[in-house]
Symmetry: C2
Subunit: 230 residues, 2 copies
DNA sequence: GAGTGGTCTAGACCACTCA
DNA sequence: GAGTGGTCTAGACCACTCC
């Protein structure tokens, strides 16, 4: 006879919630009582309950106890890997091409997005990432040179700014925006898409201790899918 | 002097990784050694390390030990609110319309996606959610009636299946898929989009203790943006 | 076989919150 | 004040994996 693990307990509690043995909003027995019932230590029951709380199935409050959540808070988590890793992990051949690289004054829209001063100098780089020679991602990136001056010395011919930044400019905070759009003329050409095709657009802004580092727009063909991680 | 908590230990380990005291790829001391160093129980160190592993900062393997992840897989979190909440929170007028409702045998693609038996009965509902009378989301939903039999009694004329399920069928696990597509004829009509417009598509599958509950495809106009929560 | 992480136990004390 | 969850400890055994 196997000992009750926190997984077993978690599964049994999930089952009871599923079968409405415990209705939404209802208080469920305390840790001590459940520990006795399952013949386990309270710490083990605690772990099972904490995981249920983390996934939003139950809500816990001291003194009040644990109740089945009425509206389980729905949060989704996504892993954001390097493009290269993403492609190679799928067993495909990765290839990177630098399309353009230019140092210039920051355009207005960028100054607004990243809260840059009027005279800010930035690097603008455009790249294509392919998987098995098929266009996978078009990367349109702006780097704030006052935050990452070393970037100006990089050619980005061999290693893309994505990988270079990961290795050389840690960030403390990031914001992502996802959406859909019709492919622009440029995107259509680079990604070899038919007229009027839809594209999946992901934008990422990163900061290191309040200083904006980079804004990148990553454009994918409509076949691209982004899936939550467990 | 306060006792070392798993949070303190986690924070200190994070700091060492950030300051490159431990380089990416390097093995860090074992739990026993860290427990001695921090004057804590091994279980406490273990909890700190497990959380770091969950957030992708370190990788752990038995016998090998714990090492700093080479490229920490960054994670982004998104809140998934009820459509109604999302719209009302933006200060807009929410309105819901049921477009169709039908009980039928599960189509093949659905049986495959949700691993349903051959004779599974499901409900198929199509709805439109508007914000200030403008189409906001087209919802195409399938509900597994063997998991949620009470759904068959609901008309969904007033309250949409989304809100009804939230209140009546909690889930323990969800999977999301996001992508872009060209609007289908139906989507074009319902969302009042011009010919060939791109749409943002979010799909959600939910389970409660291994039992599939529902698959929903939520289609938004290309103006829709999904932003990470802080 | 041996080393490291994974989990469990029994007991303890703390922290928050409700009444 | 009292009840419930939150966390820590010390010790133990297990499970996986490398050698």
């Amino acid at each position: 006879m196997r000992r009750n693990s926190f997984r077993d307990i978690r599964a049994e509690l999930e089952r009871r919630i599923a079968r409405r043995v415990w209705e939404p909003g209802a208080i469920i027995p305390g840790e001590e009582a459940l520990a006795v019932e399952f013949g386990a230590a309270r710490a083990t029951v605690n772990r099972a309950l904490q995981e249920l709380a983390r996934s939003g199935l139950v809500e816990r409050k001291r003194k009040s106890g644990t109740r089945v959540a009425l509206h389980s808070v729905r949060q989704a988590r996504f892993a954001i890997p390097l493009v290269r890793q993403e492609i190679e992990q799928a067993g495909s051949l990765y290839h990177y091409t630098l399309l353009s690289r230019e140092v210039r004054a920051a355009p207005d829209f960028l100054r607004a997005r990243l809260a840059l001063p009027a005279d800010a100098r930035v690097m603008h780089a455009r790249c294509l990432h392919t998987a098995d020679r098929r266009p996978y991602q078009y990367e349109d990136r702006w780097i704030n040179l006052s935050a990452v001056p070393q970037a100006e010395k990089e050619s980005f011919e061999e290693t893309g700014p994505n990988e270079w930044l990961v290795a050389n400019a840690p960030f403390s905070h990031a914001e992502f925006v996802f959406g859909a759009a019709r492919a622009s003329e440029e995107e259509k050409a680079v990604l070899q898409l038919p007229e009027g095709e839809a594209v999946f657009v992901a934008e990422r802004m990163t900061w290191l201790a309040e200083r904006p580092i980079t804004l990148v727009r990553m454009v994918h063909p409509p076949t691209h899918r982004m899936v939550t991680t467990l």
